[in-house]
């Protein structure tokens, strides 16, 4: 799936990834690649501003850490983020149902 097709869903995908545990930007990118079976063709650089947007909305919390000589900003999902994820998932399932009905008609 290309970037245009996924753009609106990126926040939900990031939140779903962070629900499994806290992670830094590149680990999130790698997890998205892996869990999508390499089907997600996303400009990885856009994940970083998306994380800041989610942080501004209160859905994730980020903090700088130092591990193995490498500085990383690690993110964790918040309670508000879990609610937003549930809503994002419900919206997506509803859209999928509508698409399936219309395309299958």
């Amino acid at each position: 799936m290309d970037a245009d097709g996924i753009h609106g869903q990126l926040d939900t995908l990031i939140l779903a990834t962070l629900k499994r545990g806290e992670a830094h930007g590149y680990a999130i990118i790698a997890a998205l690649r892996e869990t999508s079976g390499e089907q997600l063709d996303l400009p990885s650089g856009t994940v970083y501003p998306a994380l800041r947007r989610l942080e501004r909305s209160g859905y994730v919390e980020g903090k700088w850490t130092q591990a193995g000589g490498r500085r990383r900003r690690v993110y964790a999902i918040t309670a508000e983020g879990l609610i937003a994820l549930a809503k994002g998932r419900a919206d997506w399932l509803a859209l999928r149902e509508v698409m399936a009905s219309v395309l299958g008609a």
Binding site: A3, H24, G25, Y26, I29, L42, P43, S44, G45, T46, Y48, P49, A50, R52, R53, R56, R70, R71, R72, R73
Partner: protein, 202 residues
């Protein structure tokens, strides 16, 4: 800093510390992508080129980062307005003379109040998260209009000479003048910054 990260960073405008923080985070991620490829046996140049292709067009990434910088600048300027405007209004009220002011003075004072209320409303909406689209440009414009109207009206009131003798001792007058000047400069600088960041198109 790699050429890729430098080309993302070049067009960015906004709060310096946040900008540096976001560029550093992107740079760390980019270096990790390069290191992953080098560990897989690629040469440095090839690893850099592949990582750049994975991260996407620098312009596209910069535009997304700029959106966050503009949001941060909008909130910063909005807080400046929320703090400075009431303080300035109180200080300017203390300057007022005793006695019944002329109609022209009342009208000029009301015009200043209107500009202040408008700027305060825009700032409150931004801080409350109710105004996001073009928030930085709006905050900047509202702040500049307010300070221009307020200073213009103050000058006009002084020129009319109708404000009457201020019931203030010289020390209080000096402190109020200095406080007003600092407040007005603070609003003007923050508003210009917000306008500049809000008008940055990538």
């Amino acid at each position: 800093m790699s050429d890729y990260v430098a080309s993302v960073a070049a067009p960015l405008r906004g709060p310096r510390r946040l900008r540096a923080d976001m560029v550093a985070e992107l740079g760390d991620g980019f270096e990790e992508a390069v290191a992953e490829r080098e560990a897989a046996g690629l040469g440095r140049d090839r690893a850099l080129a592949e990582a750049a292709a994975e991260f996407g067009e620098p312009r596209l990434v910069a535009a997304e980062i700029q959106r966050e910088l503009a949001a941060a600048q909008a909130r910063r300027t909005a807080w400046t307005l929320l703090i400075a405007l009431p303080a300035l209004t109180i200080m300017w009220d203390l300057f007022g003379g005793d006695g019944e002011p002329a109609l022209a003075v009342v009208l000029l004072a009301r015009l200043t109040d209107l500009a202040t209320a408008s700027a305060f409303t825009v700032a409150a909406l931004v801080v409350a998260g109710r105004l996001e689209r073009r928030a930085a440009a709006l905050c900047g414009a509202a702040g500049l209009v307010q300070i221009t109207v307020a200073l213009g009206c103050s000058a006009a009131i002084s020129a009319i000479g109708a404000s009457g003798p201020p019931g203030l001792d010289p020390a209080s007058w000096w402190w109020l003048s200095a406080g007003s000047a600092v407040g007005a400069a603070w609003i003007a600088v923050s508003a210009v910054r917000a306008l500049r960041v809000g008008r940055t198109a990538i």
